[in-house]
């Protein structure tokens, strides 16, 4: 008998319980999305997706993600380089601040921008005088999204780079490589999969974010509604099939993210930070 606790007799019970928990709690909602979206047939599913408002929402979602994700990827690399490669005072405080958005309510992440740039915000009157719109505009959506997704890439890179140590970079320097060459040819290839992993999660959140963007958007149909907000608008208008059709696209995005993420975990486990190795 294997001395570790396996309780082989109880295996079926554990398995059934696990599958029930995951099935009811997690898989069922996913199934309901697609079932509801297709409940009136394929034509009724496609029609709301081709509506100009839906297309505008998709375009806006892609735009916001296309701006926010690269910004946070660059931030993540810079922060990881500073934190994992140098010793300085106040490092743990810095890391705490980077993690902070994870423990903030999405609504608060939107609220803070309104407090700054809303009509009665600190910079509101000035912005109004200069005819600049941030809240209820794309730039507000970007700011809210950037705040919510700020930690994702940094969080993947910092532990990995700390794990890998600076020896390879030091070796490159002794071999005559310059700083930029070292980063480009040694550091970046070593972190590329973790970077991709972080970008993947960052992107999923950026495209799917609801609370933060709903606060700053004002939900002007066809102008400031991202896809998740579009889902809400339709749902509140009792256009359930349309709402679920739009939701099914987001669910598809979630599934694709899940698949790519799992592939990265299986194929490149050694090149991700330890907590991601399964």
């Amino acid at each position: 008998m294997n001395p570790t606790i396996r309780l082989p007799g109880l295996a079926p019970l554990f398995l059934v319980l696990t599958l029930t928990i995951l099935g009811v709690l997690i898989v069922l909602p996913l199934g309901v999305v697609f079932a509801s979206a297709l409940s009136q047939g394929l034509a009724a599913y496609i029609e709301p997706l081709t509506h100009p408002d839906a297309l505008a929402a998709i375009r806006l979602t892609l735009t916001v993600a296309a701006i926010s994700v690269p910004l946070n990827a660059i931030f993540g690399v810079a922060a990881a380089w500073a934190i994992a490669r140098f010793e300085f005072k106040g490092k743990s405080l810095l890391v705490t601040f980077i993690d902070l958005p994870f423990s903030m309510s999405p609504v608060v992440s939107g609220l803070v921008w309104v407090l700054l740039f809303g009509a009665q915000g600190w910079f509101g009157p000035w912005l109004q005088d200069h005819n600049i719109k941030i809240i209820f505009a794309t730039s507000g959506l970007v700011l809210a999204t950037v705040l919510v997704t700020l930690p994702f890439v940094a969080r993947e890179l910092i532990p990995l780079m700390q794990d890998q140590g600076a020896d390879e970079e030091a070796a490159a320097l002794t071999l005559g490589a310059g700083g930029f060459t070292t980063f480009w040819r040694v550091t970046l290839p070593n972190i590329k999969w973790a970077l991709l992993y972080g970008v993947l999660l960052c992107n999923a959140r950026a495209m799917g974010e609801f609370g933060a963007v709903s606060v700053v958007s004002g939900s002007v149909r066809g102008l400031t509604t991202t896809l998740p907000l579009h889902v809400e608008v339709l749902y509140n208008d009792y256009e359930f099939v349309g709402a679920f059709a739009a939701a099914s696209i987001l669910a598809g995005l979630g599934l694709v993210t899940l698949v790519l993420k799992s592939v990265l975990e299986w194929r490149h486990s050694g090149e991700l930070s330890a907590s991601r190795r399964h």
Binding site: T18, A82, V107
Partner: protein, 288 residues
């Protein structure tokens, strides 16, 4: 050996960053601080400062409005309950995934992360459809006299969904890396299965369970998208704190919204401090 040695005596180190041969610190650090300052620190400063334009009494009044208190109670209560429920559920799922080999295990494992990947609004409307009085599970529950959606129970269910992966994903690596020799040693010393579980496995897993709990709790307290559809949003009954922020913003009551936001941040912070304290206490016991 006089002047030269004196001149070359070790200098005291006062710089805040240790010298390194690697380049790029000023650039990387400068960018990090600038970005963090603009995106995190500046907005949070506004959150911390704005409530006080109401004055101390005003903040207190705004905070103790029955509707606010009810919303905070619901948000924190439901989050606490859901996170507590997720501890045994998460442990069970993690246990099955690490200790048993079954066909499709990897796929089941991958699905655990779905709540991370599924946009919250999608989860929100899907859960509502399931637990509404006419829904797949809502109907049988309604027959039992349980109103799931549009009630605090609905809030609890949504937070259960959101929090589960946090517990599974923090416990799983610990279960995986649990030193088999320790369990074997316990067996050779005559421990029963139950004793091994309570004396060897649980102490090792407990810190991870606690951090899983606190992650799930922190996420649940502020959760908005998945809750807002299923909650019903009845003032004093099923209205969550983040929604109150939105409502106050719509009334252009910025300071009032900031009061709720700041209160949420403060309570979460206090709760997490308490959890960290518990964890330190447990870790200290483990070392002795």
């Amino acid at each position: 050996m006089t002047a030269a040695t004196l001149a070359s005596a070790p200098k005291p180190r006062t710089a805040w960053v240790q010298p390194s041969i690697l380049p790029g610190f000023p650039l990387a650090m400068g960018w990090t601080l600038t970005w963090l300052g603009l995106i995190v620190v500046l907005p949070l400063t506004a959150l911390v400062i704005r409530p006080w334009e109401l004055g101390l009494a005003g903040v207190w009044e705004s905070l103790t409005e029955p509707r606010v208190l009810a919303a905070l109670r619901l948000s924190f209560g439901a989050a606490l309950l859901a996170a507590l429920t997720n501890v045994p559920l998460g442990l069970l799922v993690a246990w099955t995934l690490t200790r048993y080999e079954f066909p499709g295990r990897r796929i089941v494992d991958a699905f655990v992360d779905l709540p991370f990947a599924l946009p919250t609004a999608v989860a929100g409307i899907a859960l509502t459809a399931i637990y509404a009085p006419t829904g797949l599970l809502g109907e049988p529950l309604a027959k039992l006299g349980i109103k799931a959606a549009y009630s605090p129970i609905g809030v609890y269910i949504a937070l259960l969904f959101i929090g589960l992966p946090f517990v599974v994903r923090t416990v799983q690596p610990v279960l995986q890396d649990l030193d088999i020799e320790v369990e074997e040693a316990a067996t050779t010393l005559g421990a029963t299965t139950l004793q091994r579980f309570s004396h060897v496995v649980m102490p090792a897993v407990a810190p991870a369970l606690i951090s899983g709990f606190s992650l799930a709790f922190a996420r649940a307290v502020g959760e908005y998208g998945s809750v807002i559809f299923i909650a019903g949003n009845m003032p004093l009954k099923s209205e969550i704190a983040p929604l109150l922020i939105v409502i106050r913003l719509e009334q252009y009551d910025y300071a009032g919204a900031a009061v709720v936001g700041l209160a949420m941040l403060a309570i979460s912070f206090g709760a997490l401090l308490a959890v960290n304290g518990l964890q330190l206490f447990l870790a200290g016991r483990g070392r002795r």
